[in-house]
């Protein structure tokens, strides 16, 4: 993966190439050993390129290859890995290169403006809503339903920004306190600035291979054991925002495929999507890794620390590493890859984890995408 940064000099193509090349180099492979390429990237407006799928093709290693772009909003970075997995697991290809890229600094004055037209043009756009409104309304409902305090939410920012200090690609690693978070400006109550991930430029990539090919390439392959995704209603006001049903459905799809019956016992490490501090907790509950309303308590008890019982977002996440939308989801898959191989350096969680889950979220805040990876070959 590339460094995640505020303003990249590189073009989107160059960012994609840097990440794709790094993935190939780490697998000691050349582009001609890749059968098909997959790009994941969020709205065209961010990079300022219509049809950015074809624009980015060369950077993704798509030259004269079966190549496609997939897109499920913020959920893209994890979904794209599932999309690549389809191609290999179906037997169509031996290898696939999955690249996710986003260059948000292109979008001026702020990428937020690109989102106005995701709202209904008659019932919502005239109110000039901002994406932050949804998150604020959702966080408030989550907090009120379970009597969660702002301090409990703020702990996510503290943990993730601290974890990111060990990540060479991180944009916003920092040692901060709950007090700092609560003292930061309120963007839309109850969302404070330090509870929000930054806008970023960056790319991340992975190489997927069929079992027999993977065994030839490396002595310790990381296996995709299950994939899942789910879309809830686009009438977002009609969802009960206190709980992400769509994440639960996506997670169970992936867990069933992976043979996981008790996620809380069988998942050793989790990388849930954390563009906002409360979302990590919200998503952990959807992922069945905490009972409803209990994630804040487990966090306070240290369960989700890097050396806790269930390390959560050891990468530093979107809050710490950064949030170039699609690339951020793939960064989470990269983190699980390094953690399961014991190659995460300063970020390495203890205890030789054998199975991890990565999750992303997006579209009109109603898509959940989940990938389960592990050190043992799946039976399906």
């Amino acid at each position: 993966m590339t460094k995640f940064m505020r303003r990249a000099l590189e073009t989107p193509k160059e960012l994609a190439w840097l990440a794709a090349k790094a993935a190939l180099d780490s697998a000691e492979m050349k582009l001609d050993q890749i059968d098909g390429a997959v790009l994941g990237s969020a709205p065209d407006a961010f990079d300022g390129m219509h049809m950015k799928g074809e624009y980015l093709a060369d950077g993704c290693g798509g030259w004269r290859k079966p190549y496609l772009r997939c897109y499920v909003g913020g959920g893209t970075g994890v979904y794209a890995v599932a999309q690549g997995w389809f191609q290999v697991a179906s037997g169509l290809f031996d290898t696939a290169l999955v690249v996710c890229e986003e260059k948000m600094s292109t979008c001026q004055p702020h990428p937020q403006a690109a989102f106005i037209s995701i709202f209904d043009p008659f019932t919502e756009q005239p109110l000039k809503p901002n994406l932050l409104w949804i998150f604020a309304l959702e966080q408030n409902r989550y907090m009120q339903t379970h009597h969660i305090t702002l301090e409990e939410i703020a702990r996510v920012s503290v943990k993730n920004k601290r974890n990111a200090l060990g990540h060479p690609s991180a944009q916003l690693g920092a040692e901060i306190t709950v007090k700092d978070v609560l003292a930061s400006e309120v963007m839309a109550w109850p969302v404070h600035r330090l509870m929000v991930s930054p806008t970023s430029d960056g790319a991340a990539a992975v190489v997927l291979a069929a079992g027999d090919v993977a065994r030839r390439l490396t002595s310790k392959p990381v296996w995709i054991q299950g994939v899942g995704w789910c879309l809830d209603t686009a009438y977002w006001t009609n969802r009960d925002l206190y709980y992400p049903e769509y994440v639960e459905k996506a997670a169970w799809m992936a867990y069933r495929m992976a043979g996981v019956k008790e996620p809380r016992r069988e998942i050793n490490i989790a990388e849930p999507y954390d563009p906002f501090a409360y979302k990590e907790l919200h998503h952990l509950e959807g992922l069945q890794l905490a009972p409803k309303g209990q994630a804040p308590k487990l966090l306070a008890d240290g369960v989700f620390d890097r050396d806790g019982d269930l390390p959560v977002t050891p990468s530093g996440g979107l809050l710490g590493v950064g949030n170039p939308i699609a690339a951020a989801g793939t960064m989470k898959i990269c983190e699980l890859f390094w953690q399961l191989r014991g190659e995460a350096g300063r970020r390495q969680v203890p205890g030789k984890p054998e199975r991890g889950v990565a999750q992303a979220w997006g579209d009109l805040m109603q898509v959940g995408t989940v990938v389960v990876v592990g050190t043992s070959e799946p039976k399906h």
Partner: protein
């Protein structure tokens, strides 16, 4: 519904209020810097497949290797195809029709799009015609593809 009059139904005008700020990138800035500062056209050469990309690029899409060898292309080139446009992008009639061409510069293996200058009569142009880049004077160059005014036919 067929026959529905737009003026009888509710309607709302909206926009996506953004602008895009592009960078030429690691590869592209070589080209634009050389063009602005020296009025020269530079590319990069792939040591593996020997493609010479003009304008310069950072990597070869075929070999996936970094392109570090800078090559200078000549302002002279050859027309690979051409056209004459009478309509603008909104479908309006252009007051001054625009002649465009695909040009391969001497020293490049790639082909670029640009304008053909002073072409009033397409019968003078053919595929294979030789052209030369008209580069703006230094004081007017800003590091844009328009620092090349266009290509003029070489008689």
């Amino acid at each position: 519904m067929a026959g529905t009059q737009l003026r009888h139904i509710a309607k709302w005008r909206g926009e996506i209020p953004i602008e895009s700020l592009y960078t030429a990138g690691i590869g592209g800035q070589r080209f634009f810097k050389a063009l602005k500062e020296k009025g020269k056209l530079v590319g990069t050469r792939c040591r593996r497949c020997h493609q010479v990309f003009v304008p310069s690029r950072q990597f070869c899409e075929r070999c996936f290797v970094e392109l570090t060898e800078e090559v200078r292309a000549q302002p002279d080139g050859v027309i690979k195809s051409f056209s004459y446009a009478y309509i603008d992008h909104n479908g309006g009639r252009l007051k001054h029709p625009v002649a465009s061409a695909l040009v391969q510069l001497e020293g490049a293996t790639t082909v670029m799009l640009h304008r053909l200058l002073e072409v009033k009569d397409l019968s003078r142009v053919s595929i294979g015609s030789r052209v030369k880049a008209v580069i703006k004077p230094k004081g007017k160059r800003i590091g844009s593809i328009l620092d090349i005014e266009g290509f003029r036919l070489v008689e």
